[in-house]
């Protein structure tokens, strides 16, 4: 027994060492190949562009044939359900662009690493992407607490930090953080748009707030408070994403007699709010922020949480009637040119994922990146990308224009109100736009929505 154990030891040890060695070798060769800008010859001329100048390695991460960009995403951990679909969806759109000529002939290489929604891990993986892999830009880094951990690092390294996947107002600081740009509707604007709807449609009712206790929730509440008279708000309850026991908060909302509950929460906590309310026999009207209300994600979470608690519920039944807002076309609107484009790309390159709000988001933000790269020029420096976005982007898949300018780094400026019905979001009323100031009015957007280009690729 002892002898056989002794004999086994070297064998397993050798095997383990071999595995690790192989791992180490492979890994050291992979960043090597991607982090050698300028190694590729610049004689290749692009077949698709009507170009005159040769493609050169004009910036870190850009070679004559590729543009390498990086991102940090919650592929595992508490924020992974739903959000982990975003990066593969972006990659699918880049695959589509690469297959149709790329960006001035260059292919986009999208390297997204898992940070498990942990800011310390974000700090590590982003340093790996910037210092070791020499990415041209960080694109769509996901999460407010996570991305805040790297915002000043990216700005001090002068790495474009484009289209952060969070609606925090903190990305809009052009003077201190000139490299950082938001993209989605920010939570202050969203709060104002939802707040105006509530003040108008639920006049005289008791309103309760339920929000995440960080910039996300507080920005949202700031917007809500700009529009909803303080006397209407009877209860303000918060949660932290690390504590799933929200029963006391829901009980307090119930006790306050709130007839309308406004939630600035991530999907898992929207689902918990609904289920905890159900347990108390408390079913107020729910108004939920866009990021916490994707019907498909929500319905799945409701069913799986209930199952864990030994109950069976119908997700679509429980989400019915939830009021929310949308800044991208509704998924159900198959006649919309953007939905048709993104559905086509999804079916071809990312078919394993459900075509839900996260996938739509990932593809739409990837479209915007391609749009800005095309505007940045044939041989862009890092500054060229920042300047291109500062000069303003034409309206894309979103229903309202972008705010981008050299003094404003916020993204989409408006949204429509929608109601979830039978698992799909139905638009109600027209698109509303506003600004982030306390006094700026919420107005109906009068411009026309853009059509998706027939080629599926933005015009340069």
């Amino acid at each position: 027994m002892k002898r056989s154990h002794r004999l086994r030891v070297p064998a397993i040890a050798v095997a383990a060492t071999a595995v690790l060695t192989v791992a180490a070798c492979t890994s050291s060769s992979s960043p090597g190949s991607s982090s050698t800008p300028g190694a590729t010859s610049s004689t290749t001329s692009s077949p698709t562009s009507s170009a005159n100048s040769a493609l050169t390695a004009s910036a870190p991460g850009i070679t004559a044939t590729t543009i390498t960009i990086g991102s940090h995403q919650p592929l595992t951990g508490p924020a992974a359900p739903g959000y982990s679909e975003i990066a593969p969806a972006s990659a699918a759109y880049f695959d589509y662009v690469n297959a149709h000529g790329g960006v001035y002939g260059r292919k986009i290489v999208y390297k997204y690493l898992d940070d498990a929604y942990n800011p310390t891990q974000t700090a590590t993986v982003v340093r790996q992407l910037v210092l070791q892999d020499n990415v041209y830009a960080i694109f769509d880094g996901l999460g407010t607490p996570t991305h805040l951990a790297v915002e000043s690092f990216l700005n001090s390294e002068k790495v474009p930090d484009v289209f952060v996947a969070s609606g925090c107002d903190c990305w809009n600081q052009p003077t201190t953080d000139p490299e950082t740009f938001g993209w989605q509707l920010d939570y202050i604007r969203e709060g104002k748009i939802l707040g105006q709807y509530i003040a108008k449609h639920f006049a005289g009712k008791k309103i309760g707030y339920f929000y995440q206790d960080d910039e996300f929730g507080m920005d949202g509440v700031k917007g809500l408070d700009d529009e909803i008279p303080h006397s209407m708000v009877v209860s303000r309850e918060t949660y932290v994403p690390t504590n799933v026991n929200i029963a006391p908060a829901v009980a307090a909302l119930h006790a306050s007699g709130a007839q309308v509950v406004v939630a600035f929460s991530i999907p898992a906590f929207t689902a918990l709010l609904r289920l905890n309310g159900l347990k108390l026999g408390y079913s107020p009207t729910f108004v939920v922020s866009n990021v916490g209300s994707d019907p498909i994600t929500l319905s799945g979470l409701l069913e799986s949480f209930a199952k864990q608690g030994g109950a069976t519920v119908n997700g679509n039944q429980l989400t019915a009637g939830i009021i929310t807002d949308g800044y991208l076309p509704t998924l159900g609107d198959t006649s919309n040119s953007w939905i048709a484009l993104f559905k086509k790309v999804h079916d071809q390159y990312d078919a394993k994922a459900p075509f839900d709000g996260n996938v739509l988001y990932g593809e739409a933000v990837a479209y915007t990146f391609v749009q800005s790269m095309l505007m940045a020029g044939r041989n862009p420096t890092r500054q060229d990308l920042v300047s291109a976005i500062n000069s303003g982007l034409p309206q894309g898949p979103a229903v309202a224009p972008y705010a981008f300018s050299s003094t404003d780094h916020a993204g989409v400026t408006g949204a429509y109100i929608g109601v979830i019905n039978n698992g799909v979001l139905v638009q109600e009323g027209s698109v509303l736009t506003t600004d982030t100031s306390a006094t700026g009015a919420v107005t109906t957007y009068t411009g026309t929505e853009q059509q998706a280009p027939a080629s599926g690729i933005p015009a340069p």
């Binding site: 002892k2 086994r8 030891v9 397993i12 040890a13 383990a16 690790l20 791992a23 180490a24 492979t26 890994s27 050291s28 992979s30 960043p31 592929l75 595992t76 982990s84 990066a87 593969p88 390297k111 690493l113 898992d114 929604y117 942990n118 800011p119 310390t120 700090a123 590590t124 993986v125 340093r127 790996q128 210092l131 070791q132 407010t144 607490p145 996570t146 805040l148 951990a149 000043s152 690092f153 206790d213 960080d214 910039e215 932290v240 994403p241 690390t242 504590n243 394993k352």
Partner: protein
């Protein structure tokens, strides 16, 4: 035995310092960052390995001590703009005090009860940031700005400097711990670990020895937290979750409990394996749901393999290899109490000293 212990310890530390300097100059900026990360882990794990391996106590809450050190440093750098070395010292003192408080409670507890108390500490303490968002920045934490000192010139790479600072602290800690382990204090710890009654009969103040071990371990964690704050540029509750505390213990076990070399091996494993595994996973075109879980799986596989083959950790393996080639090492006497065959694979480290001392199982007070 040929050379005096102190000379050998200092010599080893100097070799370590030389290796760090050469590596930090030869390698790229990201590797410098990883060197700093390893140094942070080494400092924390060394404290833990002394606590668990020498004094026989367990802590699942050292991440909380790191949080104390990290927040102390962040607050000092933010509001007082002291030099880092001063904030490091203050962080060490404050965590030492916190360690003493926890240690007094811990000295009365054993095995799973002690694990439970420290686990609670690890879970609860970082949540204070949510309770005092004005002071501690809530979920987003506090941003720490740390730059290279002026005398190095503006072109000196920040990450190389950070690697040097952190490595210097880590090596200094290792030297102190190595000396402590060989001193009367270390002998008292081992005596308490092996048999409390016998130690007490021999005149060792058992409670004091156990509290002191906790203080030392907490101080190391506090300094590690302070360094983590400057290299990541952020202190936030998300950085100090219970996962961190468990990772520290994992590193101590993988490396070899009670051995300071083991702390280095263990730290290298938990810092480098996930990065390598990610590189491998992403460069082989695996689907993202598979690729994103490979680092976690690799971590688990390494832990299982090490426990299965070398219950004494990687340092045990190093010694085994050395013995295989006939280079007998006098160092083996240092962790002495762990039997050659080790506990059965998969045993939690908490039970390791119970395996050594089976009669103690009934004896928990």
């Amino acid at each position: 035995m040929r050379t005096a212990p102190l000379v050998r310890i200092l010599g080893t530390a100097l070799i370590g310092a030389a290796v760090v300097v050469i590596l930090s100059i030869k390698l790229d900026a990201f590797r410098d960052y990883q060197i700093a990360q390893v140094a942070v882990e080494v400092t924390a794990v060394a404290g833990l390995t002394v606590l668990t391996g020498l004094s026989g106590q367990i802590s699942l809450g050292n991440g909380a001590f790191m949080a104390i050190g990290g927040y102390t440093t962040a607050l000092i750098l933010l509001h007082l703009s002291w030099p880092f070395i001063a904030s490091l010292a203050v962080a060490a003192v404050i965590t030492a005090a916190a360690g003493a408080i926890v240690g007094v409670a811990a000295a009365r507890l054993h095995g799973p009860y002690l694990a439970g108390v420290t686990l609670m500490l690890g879970v609860a303490l970082p949540s204070l940031a949510y309770v005092y968002p004005g002071l501690l920045g809530g979920d987003q934490g506090l941003t720490v700005v740390y730059t290279t000192p002026g005398f190095l010139g503006s072109n000196f790479p920040l990450y190389r400097w950070q690697a040097w600072v952190c490595s210097a602290v880590a090596l200094g800690t290792l030297v102190l711990l190595a000396n402590l382990g060989r001193s009367r204090v270390g002998r008292n710890w081992r005596a308490v670990r092996d048999d409390e009654v016998a130690a007490a009969l021999a005149g060792v103040n058992v409670a004091r020895a156990r509290v002191l071990a906790f203080v030392v371990s907490a101080t190391c964690a506090g300094m590690a937290g302070a360094m983590l704050a400057i290299i990541t540029g952020l202190v936030a509750p998300g950085a100090f979750t219970i996962t961190l505390s468990i990772a520290l213990l994992t590193a101590a076990v993988i490396g070899g409990l009670g051995n300071l070399f083991g702390a280095v091996w263990g730290s290298l494993v938990i810092v480098l394996v996930p990065t390598y595994a990610t590189d491998v996973a992403t460069s082989h075109g695996l689907s993202s749901s598979v690729a994103s879980n490979i680092p976690v799986a690799a971590y688990g596989v390494v832990l299982i393999l090490v426990m299965l083959i070398f219950p004494q950790g990687i340092q045990g393996a190093v010694l085994w290899v050395l013995r295989l080639f006939g280079i007998s090492s006098s160092r083996t006497r240092y962790p002495a109490s762990v039997p050659d065959t080790g506990p059965p694979a998969g045993e939690a480290p908490a039970s390791q000293h119970e395996v050594v001392l089976p009669h103690k199982k009934e004896g928990t007070q």
